[in-house]
């Protein structure tokens, strides 16, 4: 967490007060929550009433996808198509799958190009297949694995051509890219604390004032009657501090992280010349901003099993990620890379390196020093079994 967020949250932990209560400690808590809401709104181009506090990205995504789906279906039973990109986080993909299995939804997965980006014409063609049958569109702002940034404003505009609400999972974007909820045209936007230097378990759904959304959680109706549950005041204080701080520092940090990331890629390719960068070009531009997340380096190492690389790098004190694992812990080939057209073997031999506010040039140098022998050993160990079909 950012030091300022730790300080603000620690301070708040020492105070009692239920933000829903009318007594003085309740009023004080309410004030902290509402000031936090206003700060988040200001930092993200939203109105305070559009900030719905949640427990994080998963809840926000579920609320947006299921809640908007239910509201749209209730208004018109023909609207059962859920259009989501094939590279979404599982919080969106699995929520959509659940709607298919239990609520009569029809899933329309949107193809991405080789960089992992949804093209506006892809969305337009998909919406036009059944203009009266579309419930909602959900396309992430920036991909969590390969870092590709989508042209959100343009995509939201396409959805609106058909009168369909547009949700974007901006968990990776807020606090590092320029995210302006109003300017983006999105009807709903997911953000979460732990990705921007705030606490775990605290996030928000920015939900347009005129967007109908059926609640997932029923009860006291604390958050605009869209979300119930006693608010976790200290976490929300930490969250709002982190949002304010990270958004203010974003332009500077973007440049810093991109430079460090470019250095990382250079260092790795100096040792492993056949390593391939996945996603968009490092210097790509989309809608006037970066075409890929500045702190993201996603690389494929031909002939290696991602598992082996991760294990050997871990032994060298370097943390990285292969994508996702099933509940028993078996690494799965990334659905993002597969959707981008990679074969299974490439998908399994890939690693994501994420740089953040604690990353240093020494970290990058340490990776450069280790990666050559790590890849050599992983190549000797060869491929394990191809991926499990289920997991």
């Amino acid at each position: 967490m950012l030091p300022a967020a730790v300080a603000a949250m620690s301070d708040a932990l020492g105070r009692t007060g239920n933000a829903s209560s009318l007594h003085s400690s309740g009023r004080r808590a309410r004030r902290e929550v509402e000031e936090g809401r206003e700060r988040i709104a200001e930092a993200t181009g939203a109105r305070p009433s559009e900030v719905v506090f949640t427990t994080g990205g998963t809840e926000s995504d579920n609320l947006a996808v299921k809640g908007i789906y239910w509201a749209r279906c209730t208004a018109d039973a023909r609207r059962t198509r859920v259009l989501v990109s094939s590279v979404e986080h599982h919080a969106v993909l699995d929520a959509a799958d659940w709607l298919v299995e239990h609520e009569g939804a029809r899933l329309r997965l949107l193809d991405v190009d080789a960089t992992g980006r949804v093209r506006p014409e892809t969305l337009r063609a998909a919406l036009a297949e059944e203009p009266d049958g579309n419930a909602l569109v959900s396309i992430m702002w920036a991909n969590n694995e390969v870092g590709t940034v989508n042209p959100v404003q343009e995509l939201a505009g396409v959805a609106h051509e058909f009168g369909v609400p547009f949700h974007t999972d901006a968990v990776q974007a807020v606090g590092i890219l320029d995210v302006d909820f109003a300017a983006s045209g999105a009807d709903a936007l997911t953000l979460t604390g732990h990705k921007l230097g705030g606490p775990y378990g605290a996030g928000a759904l920015l939900l347009g004032r005129d967007v109908d959304c059926t609640p997932l959680l029923h009860g006291g109706g604390q958050e605009r009657d869209v979300r119930s549950g006693t608010l976790d005041v200290p976490s929300l204080v930490g969250l709002s501090t982190a949002v304010t701080e990270s958004v203010a520092a974003a332009p500077h940090r973007r440049a810093e992280l991109a430079a460090l990331r470019d250095e990382l890629v250079r260092a790795v390719r100096a040792e492993v010349p056949d390593a391939v960068v996945n996603g968009d070009a490092l210097d790509a531009v989309v809608a006037g901003g970066p075409g890929r997340l500045p702190g993201n380096a996603h690389l494929s190492f031909p002939g290696c099993e991602g598992d082996s690389l991760l294990m050997l790098l871990d032994a060298n004190g370097i943390d990285c990620s292969t994508g996702s694992a099933c509940t028993a812990g078996v690494a799965q080939p990334s659905h993002v890379l597969l959707a981008m057209g990679a074969d299974e073997s490439t998908a399994r031999g890939s690693l994501r390196f994420s740089l953040g506010h604690t990353s240093t040039r020494d970290d990058v140098a340490a990776l450069g020093g280790a990666i050559g022998s790590v890849v050599e050993r992983a190549r000797r160990a060869g491929r394990g079994a191809p991926a499990a079909v289920t997991g």
């Binding site: 598992d307 082996s308 991760l310 294990m311 050997l312 871990d314 032994a315 694992a325 099933c326 509940t327 028993a328 812990g329 078996v330 690494a331 050993r377 992983a378 000797r380 160990a381 060869g382 394990g384 079994a385 191809p386 991926a387 499990a388 079909v389 289920t390 997991g391």
Partner: protein, 354 residues
């Protein structure tokens, strides 16, 4: 690390001995909801999480390796094929031979590790290499390790073989390992229901044949497939008439080609000579001359003094006392008796009995 107490203590001992240890749990099943109650498979979610907790407590990294494809091919398919061929396979033995000390070991060596350490009850001096029975005679697993070649044994570690199981549980409790009281596993891990016949029926379907009296050749009944029978089996023969002498009848032999199951009296079960194929020698050197040893044909029990004669296509084992329930497909392991624990000389797969 299976998630059980034995591999957890084995890992703890390896860590205590100063080794650089990484915990590996093997994912061997392709079914998504492998979480089971009552019965423990090699790859249930609960076991994976028990293994992870043990590794966390020991302060070692922990990974899950997906070897489900190798396991399916080399162990499960082999198991089914052996039954279809009228043999009686031992999948645990095959798993040690092909998975734990082959697929896992090869990958580990390539990644820069020196050995695969498991919670098997056996004692090993890897430098010779010399494999011996465990100190706990009831738990001894040297039989299912007797298929390992010298080059596999040189990279194996069995740190708990010198300790009786109750003490292993005490040690686990002392270390704070939650699995200290976890029940032992007994079932074949990929048949968690314990219903081997049902599993084989599902895999092989119906392959009808006759149940025939071994002496007279008379057809006594029919059956749905030779995979329903094991040599020495008494129950479930599907014969509605008692034998002429009123004594129980047993499966004496299985002829998979024509689907015939031969039955007869228990006296005909006595085996005094075994032809066995594909011998493996723990020392890495095949003996040239006949040698005396103790032969063992099952994981527990079933031992007899024997003379083993190597030949071009295997070995001949002449038993000095008859053994029962010896079936093709089983392993016969050879031991040199020793006060500090019988030494494994090697093993071979039973091809025929006399």
């Amino acid at each position: 690390m299976s998630g059980g107490v034995d591999s957890a203590v084995a890992a703890a001992r390896a860590v205590a001995a100063g080794h650089d240890v990484v915990g590996v749990h093997l994912a061997l099943s392709r079914t998504r909801d492998a979480m089971r109650s009552g019965s423990r498979g090699c790859c249930s979610r609960e076991d994976a999480s028990d293994a992870a907790r043990a590794a966390d407590l020991l302060g070692i990294p922990y990974y899950v390796w997906d070897l489900s494809e190798e396991f399916t091919r080399d162990v499960v398919d082999d198991f089914v094929a052996a039954y279809a061929a009228g043999e009686t396979p031992n999948p645990c033995l095959r798993c040690n031979e092909k998975i734990k000390f082959a697929a896992v070991l090869d990958k580990a060596l390539a990644l820069g590790f020196d050995a695969v350490c498991t919670g098997h009850y056996a004692r090993l001096d890897p430098s010779v290499p010399r494999l011996r029975r465990s100190a706990d005679a009831d738990k001894d697993q040297s039989y299912v390790l007797a298929v390992l070649r010298a080059d596999q044994l040189r990279h194996a570690m069995f740190p708990i073989g010198d300790t009786p199981k109750p003490q292993i549980r005490e040690e686990a409790a002392r270390l704070g390992l939650r699995v200290a009281g976890k029940p032992d596993s007994h079932d074949i891990c990929f048949i968690p229901t314990g219903d081997t016949q049902g599993f084989l029926r599902e895999q092989l379907g119906s392959r009808p044949g006759d149940v025939v009296d071994s002496a007279s050749g008379e057809v006594l009944g029919t059956h749905d497939g030779v995979h329903g029978f094991t040599v020495g089996q008494r129950k479930g023969l599907g014969i509605d008439r008692p034998a002429a002498d009123g004594r129980p009848r047993y499966v004496l032999g299985i002829e998979p080609v024509n689907g015939t199951v031969r039955v007869g009296p228990d006296s005909a079960l006595d085996v005094t000579s075994i032809s066995a194929r594909t011998p493996v020698w723990a020392s890495g050197v095949a003996p040239e001359a006949p040698f005396g040893c103790v032969a063992q044909v099952r994981a527990h029990g079933g031992t007899a003094p024997a003379e083993v004669t190597p030949s071009d296509d295997g070995v001949t084992v002449v038993l000095s006392e008859p053994l029962r329930g010896v079936a093709p497909g089983q392993a016969v392991a050879f031991y040199r008796p020793c006060e500090d624990g019988d030494v494994v000389l090697g093993s071979a797969t039973v091809a025929a009995t006399h």
